[in-house]
Amino acid sequence: MSEHLNDRQFSEWMAGERPEELVAHVGVCVACRGEVARFDALLGSFREGVRSMSAEAPVIRVPTARWVPRLVLAGALAALLAAITLYPPRPAPVVVAAVEVSDLVLFEQVNAQLARRVPGAMEPLAALTWPEGKSE
């Protein structure tokens, strides 16, 4: 093998596939040996970098813990909906005093109507016919 490693051979080498032919070439070719060593070092730095990045791995938590607030919130919402369904809001309370007043007024009007001897439209005529203080 006289030429330098091609892309496929280079990848094979880095993946750990090292047939005798490649080993022999890398053993004698300074350029390929340097290229392989540089890339190998770079992958080593990458490994160290990722490992150091995750070295401060957060402490494991109980897996359900993060769902608890959501469950509580969901439960509260469900309870609220159930309460609204079972106990719908009452209509506004009626003002009793006003009703009582209006009833009194109505009774007085009815009493006044009943107390008349003749319909209202005939009252002037009745006054002419029947002197004051006399009944029919």
Binding site: S45, S54, I60, P63
Partner: protein
């Protein structure tokens, strides 16, 4: 089985494998919050399925198998959850300062490392998984095949392609 017996002390399993699963998830998802959540889900799944573990593979490979599947699902679902907040891991978190190199060399090393980080992010999911398992987790091809459910030959193909893509990006960044 000796391997299955390892699961009887699950606290020890969590202590040993939690950082590794978190690291693999972080490399795959680039999101610290999602990686933490996924590592928790992975160990919870393992805990629930511990009675079914027969020890055909090592505990480590079995856990990585669960993690690989969860990551695949998470990536699929993430496309539908674009509104979710992320705590993105950036290349700045990755840089390891050695304090020995000249500023020029340090800058060049940083540039190349950033190129590898960005290249792995743009790899197809399977290539990225295989690449991370090989070069960050130091797993051999057979272990990767067991963890991913792929044949050894397919793992090789994904690894070669990933290496070619990463190398091309690094060259482009000025190696």
């Amino acid at each position: 089985m000796e391997r299955a017996a390892e699961l009887t002390d699950f606290d020890a399993v969590v202590a040993e494998y939690w950082p590794r699963i978190y690291r693999f998830a972080l490399g795959s998802l680039r999101d610290k919050g999602a990686a933490e959540s996924l590592a928790q889900d992975c160990l919870l799944k393992a805990w629930k399925a511990r009675d079914r573990f027969r020890g055909e593979a090592s505990v480590s490979t079995w856990l990585m198998q669960i993690a690989v599947n969860l990551i695949r699902d998470r990536i699929r679902n993430r496309r539908l959850q674009f509104w979710k907040r992320t705590t993105e891991a950036s290349v700045d978190d990755l840089i390891v300062a050695d304090g020995k190199s000249s500023p020029e060399k340090a800058a060049s090393a940083r540039q190349q490392l950033a190129a590898v980080w960005n290249a792995t992010a743009s790899l197809p999911e399977r290539q990225r998984t295989v690449f991370l398992l090989r070069f960050v987790e130091d797993m051999d091809l057979l272990e990767i095949a067991a963890a991913t459910g792929l044949s050894e030959g397919t793992v090789k193909v994904h690894l070669f392609r990933a290496l070619q893509a990463v190398r091309a990006k690094v060259k482009g960044a000025g190696q």
